[in-house]
């Protein structure tokens, strides 16, 4: 049975002031997939993410999310987004963890509609899910980096997303906190079937979570749908492939396609 395409990129090119950032890229992400996008600095990972989020428009080709052009997706609350911690909020901001998570529910409710009791119950439920119930009423700026990351993940989850996008979730978070977050993501993937797109320059810890790995360097250099056991080695292979053999993958990267 064919699963619904959540993201479909066809022949997409993105250039910035005459410099190609992404070149003739093809990629399909189906419902329930957990795709890791890796690649060296400047490979176009962040640009790809902005294109998926509809913040940029492709110069050529198309990028569709939930069947609509990415920048025209109407129900954006269907996309949960966890940004890099470094680009996050001011730690002096006077808000509790609960208030921050609640703000994630705002797009789902819509303009002029206050949050209702079921929304507040969902916030409690998500707090429990990310294991932060006891910190719910603490000022968010007083929490540790790992705890803040969980709160921001909860803010993304509270909109009940069908697609979860994580941008470098390992930035500024220690190993233990990261492992615990990846366990939670694995649980979400298995139990709720949330599709995930994880952009990361480091694959350690992601092994059991990811169903597909895409290695990027202005175009897709390699793509694997295998569950891999040796992520460090995989990244080394990926980097070697980028430096020695920058090929243009014209076939859609999906299914059993493995370089």
């Amino acid at each position: 049975m064919n699963k619904e395409d959540i993201i479909k990129i066809e022949g997409m090119t993105f250039t910035y002031v005459c410099h190609p950032i992404l070149n003739n890229m093809h990629l399909r992400v189906a419902a329930g997939d957990v795709v890791a996008i890796t690649g060296p600095n400047g490979s176009g990972k962040s640009t790809l993410l902005k294109l998926v989020l509809g913040q940029l428009k492709p110069s050529a080709g198309s990028i569709k999310v939930f069947g609509s052009e990415a920048h025209k997706v109407k129900d954006r609350y269907r996309i949960g987004y966890l940004a890099q911690k470094a680009t996050g909020f001011n730690s002096q901001f006077p808000a509790t963890a609960r208030e921050v998570i609640r703000s994630g529910r705002v797009p789902r409710r819509g303009l002029f509609h206050p949050l209702s009791k079921p929304d507040h119950l969902l916030v409690d439920q998500v707090l429990q899910q990310v294991g932060m119930t006891e910190f719910a009423d603490r000022p968010v700026g007083t929490l540790s980096g790992g705890q803040q990351q969980r709160i921001l993940l909860a803010r993304a989850l509270v909109s009940e997303p069908e697609l979860l996008i994580l941008d470098e979730p390992n930035t500024g978070v220690d190993r233990a906190a990261l492992d615990s977050m990846y366990r939670l993501l694995k649980e979400l993937s298995l139990l709720q079937g949330i599709t995930m797109l994880i952009v990361s320059h480091e694959l350690a810890g992601l092994g059991s979570l990811v169903s597909h790995q895409v290695c990027l360097d202005k175009h897709i250099c390699s793509c694997s749908c295998h569950q891999y056991n040796d992520p460090e080695n995989q990244l080394k292979n990926c980097k070697r492939r980028i430096t020695s053999q920058p090929t243009n993958t014209k076939e859609p990267c999906y299914g059993n396609f493995t370089v």
């Binding site: 989020l53 913040q55 109407k74 129900d75 954006r76 609350y77 996309i79 987004y81 940004a83 680009t87 996050g88 909020f89 001011n90 002096q92 901001f93 006077p94 808000a95 509790t96 208030e99 921050v100 609640r102 703000s103 994630g104 705002v106 797009p107 409710r109 303009l111 002029f112 206050p114 949050l115 009423d137 603490r138 000022p139 803010r155 909109s159």
Partner: protein, 276 residues
Amino acid sequence: MEILQYEFMQRALLAGFLVGLICPIVGLFIALRRMSMISDALSHVCLSGVAAGLMTGIHPILSASLFAVGGGLLLEMLRKLYRGYSEISIAITLSTGVALGAILLDLGKGYSANFMSYLFGSIVAISVDDLKIVSLLGIAILLLVHLLKKELFAISFDEDHARVSGIPVDAINTCFTIMTAITIALAIRVVGILLVSSLMILPVATAMRLASSFRGAMLLSILFGETAIFIGVFASFYMNLAPGGAIVMTSVILLVSSLVYQQLNRKMAIYKGIVS
């Protein structure tokens, strides 16, 4: 109470109550979005609005509101043009407002005495018309903030995330700029063009030292705003002080007190830690 026997003081207290409510509420979002200087820029645009109102016979608060809204929209446009250097847009708007005000004032000589009451505020000179305008526009702003509160919080906390998650950030920002502009125009009658930004930012600055939640910060900002207004008005009545100055100085005293309280609290906590 003697102060309440006078009709002009009743109007002053009522207008003061409304302004003391909307200024800290709007000011909280301004401060959290690191746009504190926007209130300074728009209050200076009000200068030309008041001058234009006095010249043309339009009610100065209404003309100041119109000029401030125009200034706010210009500022928003400039902010987009100088993305990442937003203080440039503030400098341009502020200087344009003052320059235009200077020209209009020079053209309309003879209005300067009336103009001074807008420069430093004159809460005790609030007319029935002033009160009607302040009440009508003030309640409209309160209603709008209430309706957009959750979106304004999400944008203030993390504008990029709000945009990505589908909140109409640009439309809400424009709406908020208009609300800010009108709030400033309403407050100039109470504290004056030169002190209006203090009424918006000082209560918030005090609240932010003490609050641990957004709700707490909002309630404390309102409390400190109202306290400053009422103490200021009473002080001006019984001690014959300039009302605008008395209100803002009360705000400053509250801020200093909160800083001292916080320092003492910190020292006490350290002391308790050593003793135990």
